[in-house]
Subunit: 229 residues, 2 copies
DNA sequence: GATAGTTTCATACAAGTGTTTGAATTGCAA
DNA sequence: TTGCAATTCAAACACTTGTATGAAACTATC
């Protein structure tokens, strides 16, 4: 099984290059040059370029989804099996926004990679995103528990809008900063999360948002367990 | 000047193929085969593949932006130089949503092309989108007139969220339909527009949304005036 | 230390890409 | 009809791309 040295060198180099220059501008030859490995190593270790990209994306997605579910679970346990709608939305959009915005989003390769993935959307990543539905259903279920009797469509629209605001903020953060001439502070992640949660919750006719801190640890790339995402 | 027949045949074929199969799957050879013209015609008439894509996108963007501004202007004139925040949001998201959602979005090549452009985001299109800021500033100005004294950042966030919900709904309409198992009706465009406007306006602390019909005419492709977009 | 399995390597492959070329053709005006 | 510019065309160009190959180097086991 050797040291996996080559394998993780490829992952690290690929993530950095994709984060910096985007998927369409980076070739396998760029990656192996950066990683100081042979060209054939990519196909040997990953099978194909697309599988390499998929593994990069899955690794980061697993982390985000785990954080989301942890936060949701914590909120529900504290509330005796039921979380407030604000807590649910916070668990949904918090991890993503904290990961892709904020002070270290410029320095963190993982964050910049995920932003690229959000903007460019190449085929292997699209395929994975399509499997995210099961994950979202868990949040829909939590919302149903929080707002019983509420029209189902309203709940889904609320979930959808919460994700809309979070993802679009990440995708277009530069444009928003330029448009607002810096008046919208995208570095204050806490405030951004509060705002998104507040708007999403208000749209559902719930109360005012609550504030809550959170931590984030970064998974290094390595052999992947891939329990799906 | 000849008949421009070749030129518009290329535009038509390109838009259809891009709409159907996406940018990454369609080559110039596919396009010229569909258009029954010579391969070199693309470079002769457009200069490059990217300029062809840019022209396709600019044509449709001009249409959307014109509709937006017309609707905004109409609302402001009716309100004596000041439109309500709901009217402003409606003018902003209505044309896009009507164009990309609704019954004819499956049949309309233009609509499917714009959805592709929203999902895939290739370089020439990204470059054009970056120039959209001037256009958005006009809406920011209208919002300032509608809600004088309101914090500037709030206004920009409101504008941003309105666009977030509209664009994300277009991008992920299939996922939302699947997630909600059809409970979210994306064919009722009027209702979708109402919902987006309502949420965006509520987020700004304004009142309930108003309802308003609108018409849409499709510009055929042809020689482009390109007064920017 | 021989053997079997894994990993690395240089190199070639095969195909597809947008673009260019220069000659043919067309259309229109003088 | 002639002349000239605009357009079309077949062909090739010049690369880049991801992938495959088969020998070499390494590693661990017996």
């Amino acid at each position: 099984m050797a040291s996996d040295q080559t394998r993780s060198a490829i992952l690290t180099a690929a993530e950095r290059l994709y984060a910096e220059r985007g998927f369409s501008d980076v070739t396998l030859r760029d990656i192996v040059a950066e990683a100081n490995v042979n060209l054939a190593a990519v196909n040997y270790h990953f099978g194909s370029k697309d599988e390499l990209i998929a593994e990069l994306f899955v690794t980061r997605s697993i982390q985000t989804n785990r954080e989301r579910l942890n936060e949701l679970k914590a909120a529900e346990e504290k509330g005796g099996g039921r979380a407030s709608i604000e807590q649910i939305f916070r668990a949904l959009v918090g991890p993503t926004l904290r990961g892709c915005l904020g002070p270290d989003s410029e320095s963190s390769t993982a964050a910049r990679f995920m932003i690229r993935a959000s903007i460019e959307s190449v085929p292997p990543i699209r395929r994975i995103k399509n499997r995210e539905i099961d994950h979202l259903r868990k949040f829909a279920a939590a919302m149903r528990r929080a707002l019983p009797g509420r029209d189902e469509a309203d709940l889904y629209w609320g979930l959808h809008f919460a994700l809309s605001m979070a993802h679009h903020t990440i995708r277009e953060k530069e444009r928003l900063a330029k448009l607002s001439e810096g008046k919208c502070d995208l570095n204050d992640v806490q405030a951004v999360v509060d705002r998104v949660v507040s708007v999403a919750a208000t749209a559902l006719g719930a109360g005012a948002p609550v504030s809550k801190p959170a931590v984030r640890t970064v998974i290094p790339h390595g052999r992947l367990t891939r329990q799906d995402l």
